[in-house]
């Protein structure tokens, strides 16, 4: 009985929701994302209140480069698409292709994270724009950094799932895990869309 969930092959149509545990995880994770939304909303609110409080430090208009940020946006949006492909293959019970697309998602995620780190280093070294420079800088690094930390956590999560399951394939026990990891990845992506708009675009036009 209990061991059945570990058998791979012959999965039902929606393996992530086929067991009660899976349904619980699925729903609980949606609620968790609801809470995360409030978390980021609070950070956005704080940022909006402080975005013009630059004191003597540089303003957003001076330091933001839309080219780099646009590239980051494209990379992260694409990674969301590739995670959709992965879930598509999960539902078709094609484990190898799922792993492949998850792998591409992870690579894109690393690319994004690398560019973000480059961006931060660039601000600190070339503009003297550190965490403690002004209220604006603190709010900026907190908001964008929280997002970046979420990306990093998501990468560790997806990689550990991929390594753990690469030998045994898809089953009713791990399908919900893959699925909610991809939900999380979408959420990160949605938050970035708001960061792109509120922080960078609004920061550029003032």
């Amino acid at each position: 009985m209990a061991e059945d969930v570990l058998k791979s092959g012959n999965l039902p149509e929606n393996p992530e929701r086929a067991t009660l545990e899976g349904r619980n995880k699925f729903m609980g994770f949606w609620f968790f994302l609801g809470g995360e939304t409030v978390l980021f909303a609070s950070l956005f609110g704080t940022y909006l209140a402080l975005r013009n409080s630059t004191v003597d430090g540089p303003t957003g208009q001076e330091i933001f480069g839309l080219g780099l940020v646009f590239l980051m946006t494209v990379i992260l949006l694409t990674s969301s698409l590739t995670s959709v492909y992965a879930m598509y293959h999960m539902k078709n019970n094609d484990f190898k292709k799922m792993q492949l697309w998850l792998g591409i998602t992870v690579l894109l995620g690393f690319a994004f994270l690398g560019l973000e780190i480059y961006e931060f280093v660039h601000y600190v070294n070339d503009y003297g724009f550190g965490f403690t420079t002004s209220a604006f800088s603190t709010a900026f690094y907190s908001l964008v950094g929280f997002h970046g930390a979420h990306v990093a956590f998501g990468l560790v999560w997806i990689i550990s799932l991929m390594i753990r399951n690469h030998k045994r394939g898809l089953n009713l026990y791990n399908a919900p895990k893959f699925y909610i990891a991809s939900l999380y990845w979408h959420f990160i992506d949605v938050v970035w869309v708001f960061i792109f708009t509120v922080v960078y675009l609004m920061g550029k036009v003032g």
Partner: protein, 619 residues
């Protein structure tokens, strides 16, 4: 009985059992014990406050210590006493009321407890490490930035850890209610305690992240040179107040709604009538929760948000009185014409209704923004929120503990002592806080270490302190009652109160799998329906079969311990960074272990269930 084996078990194995349990009934006991511990701690702090204020110009404790005590009294009572005691009731009762074998996430349930516990311990370590937080439980910036000891850091990190646990608990109960209800248990057949706990969990989910962010900002400012609340660097101190109250106001509804639910169970049971206006009760609960998110700025009327904002928040606040009033009348109408039994939980309910109504009334007074300028930060506010939190939440918690004690432990608290507890506590409470209304109107500011003689404040402060001793003695009687009852260990039946809901259909305490067969719910007050229309027993919804159970786990304890250790490293920094590395390493490692190691639970087999004797079934 299967409990014979447990009786012989030594202390070590019982300890290990509780450290690793994922059973909601045992986690309820953990929450209960920890919550009562912190309740006593917070109560002792309250006694110190009242002794200091027994007479004008008193020098009983120093000003600095007074600040620490009043801060920790508020913080402890809200986060470490009221919240876990509510979680204790929710864990003990909610799954049983909906006919579930467990909560949706047993592992996370346990993790939630241990995070809360270690967060609470972390906060209290501050007493021994250079001083507790001394800036009030609201920790307003910039005061919280200027506090020199590490007290406020303990506050920020301790509450952060506790808050994670609470958030997980909230999600767990939401999913439990949505996904785990027994056949026939539709939403509109759920007992009201389940309803209010469900809605309170939704509030937790959407309120606690604001506190999480607020505490992060405070931590960043204090420990990492951030500038959120530093006006010289462009920061804005009001952000903290907004974030704190966006969390803080829903928090008071998180505290009160489950208490409403408790009384909505007790009053019908002891009036022998179904709850009057069930659907309006549900509607009122949801409406209170909804409005509860739009009133936070009534804590900030004097900040200077402007007349428009103040008016909107004033009107929204007053609107909450409407659904609350609906509830009050529903309880009264439930009792009206009922066959009332004056058991101790019912007496608590009878004490609660007028007390809470007074608290609600002063709430409407405070909601008038113009008048609030007069009341703000006086003892009038102190009196108001103690009327709703003690008169509502604490009475509700103790009524719930007494009411469900037989279900949790299989024994019955001594009724005579319960009544003594109630009357001492209740009279003491009104002596303590009723007169504080007048102290406030006379202009006595809250949180002050001393008051001066000959300003007309002496007598009421003296009465207030006398009342506090009444509450303390009442609580001691309750504790004596608990010890005596458990020493005697007289077992009671599964349904000692002749109650109405599903949890009373199974033995007390319930077997670890709760229901041998999933129950079939045929109406509101499922057990009462069977008592009136059937043979008094709940019908099963399935044939006897294997029961899937979760494995016990030590990992939640380890995850929480890691964060506890890491907290010190983040706070003291320098060479102590090593602690942060170790702590976060432990937590991350434990989480990875949890992710990688399969945990599919086990099955209790049909044959074993058949062997179990007697009334283990619900059919």
């Amino acid at each position: 009985m299967s409990t014979t084996a447990e009786k012989k078990a030594g202390f070590g194995s019982v300890l290990w059992d509780y450290l690793t349990t994922v059973d909601h009934k045992k986690i309820a006991i953990l929450y209960l014990v920890a919550g009562l511990f912190f309740f006593i701690l917070g109560g002792l702090q309250a006694m110190l406050i009242r002794i200091q204020l027994i007479a004008p110009d008193n020098e009983f404790i120093s000003a600095q210590f007074y600040n620490e005590v009043l801060t920790m009294h508020g913080t402890t009572m809200i986060f470490l006493a009221a919240m876990p005691l509510i979680f204790a009731l929710m864990n003990a009762v909610l799954p049983l009321q909906i006919g579930a074998r467990d909560v949706a996430f047993p592992f996370i349930n346990s993790l939630g407890f241990w995070l809360f516990f270690f967060g609470g311990i972390f906060l209290n370590v501050s007493w021994f490490a250079g001083g507790a937080p001394d800036v009030g439980w609201t920790a307003y910036a910039p005061l919280s930035l200027f506090s020199e000891s590490h007290g406020v850091d303990y506050y920020a990190i301790g509450l952060q850890i506790t808050g994670f646990g609470t958030l997980m608990g909230g999600i767990n109960f939401i999913v439990t209610v949505v996904n785990m209800r027994a056949p026939g248990m539709t939403y509109m057949r759920m007992p009201l305690f389940t309803w209010t706990s469900f809605i309170a969990s939704v509030l937790i989910l959407f309120a606690f992240p604001a506190l999480t962010v607020g505490l992060f900002l405070l931590t960043f400012d204090r420990l990492f040179g951030g500038n959120f609340f530093d006006p010289e660097m462009g920061g804005n101190v009001i952000i903290w107040e907004h974030l704190f109250w966006i969390f803080g106001h829903p928090e008071v509804y998180i505290l009160i709604l489950p208490a409403f639910g408790v009384f909505s169970e007790i009053i019908p049971t002891f009036s022998k009538k179904r709850l009057f206006g069930y659907s309006s009760m549900v509607f009122a609960t949801i409406l209170i929760a909804f409005l509860g998110f739009m009133v936070w700025a009534h804590h900030m009327f004097t900040v200077g948000l402007g007349p428009i904002a103040n008016s909107i928040f004033a009107v929204a606040t007053m609107a909450i009185a409407v659904p609350t009033g609906i509830k009050i009348f529903n309880w009264l109408f439930t009792m009206w014409g009922g066959n009332i039994r004056l058991t101790s939980p019912m007496v608590f309910a009878l004490g609660f209704v007028p007390t809470f109504t007074i608290g609600g009334m002063t709430g409407v007074m405070l909601a008038s923004a113009a008048a609030d300028f007069q009341y703000h930060d006086t003892y009038f506010v102190v009196a108001h929120f103690h009327y709703v939190i003690v008169g509502g939440t604490v009475l509700g918690i103790f009524a719930g503990i007494i009411y469900w004690w037989p279900k949790m432990f299989g024994t019955m608290l001594n009724e005579k002592l319960n009544h003594w507890f109630f009357w001492l506590f209740f009279i003491g409470f009104h002596l303590t806080f009723f007169f504080q209304h007048f102290l406030g109107l006379m202009g006595m500011p809250r949180r002050y270490w001393k008051f001066l003689p000959d300003q007309g404040l002496d007598l009421f402060n003296l009465i207030s302190t006398i009342g506090a001793f009444g509450m303390a003695i009442g609580t001691i009687i309750f504790l004596i009652n608990v010890v005596m009852t458990q020493m005697k260990g007289e077992k009671v039946s599964g349904d000692p109160w002749d109650a109405r809901t599903l949890e009373w259909a199974i033995p007390s305490p319930p077997p670890f799998y709760n229901f041998k067969q999933e129950p079939l719910v045929r109406g509101l007050d499922a057990l009462w329906v069977e008592k009136m229309q059937g043979n008094g027993k709940i019908q099963p919804a399935e044939p006897l079969g294997d029961i899937h159970m979760p494995n016990r786990s030590f990992v939640p304890f380890v995850i929480s311990l890691g964060l506890f250790i890491a907290g010190f490293g983040v706070m003291y920094q320098g060479a102590m960074w090593i602690l942060a590395a170790i702590g976060f390493g432990i937590t991350a490692g434990a989480m990875l272990y949890r992710s990688v190691k399969d945990d599919i639970g086990y099955h209790v087999h049909k044959e074993e269930l058949e062997e179990e004797e007697g009334d283990g079934s619900n059919g």
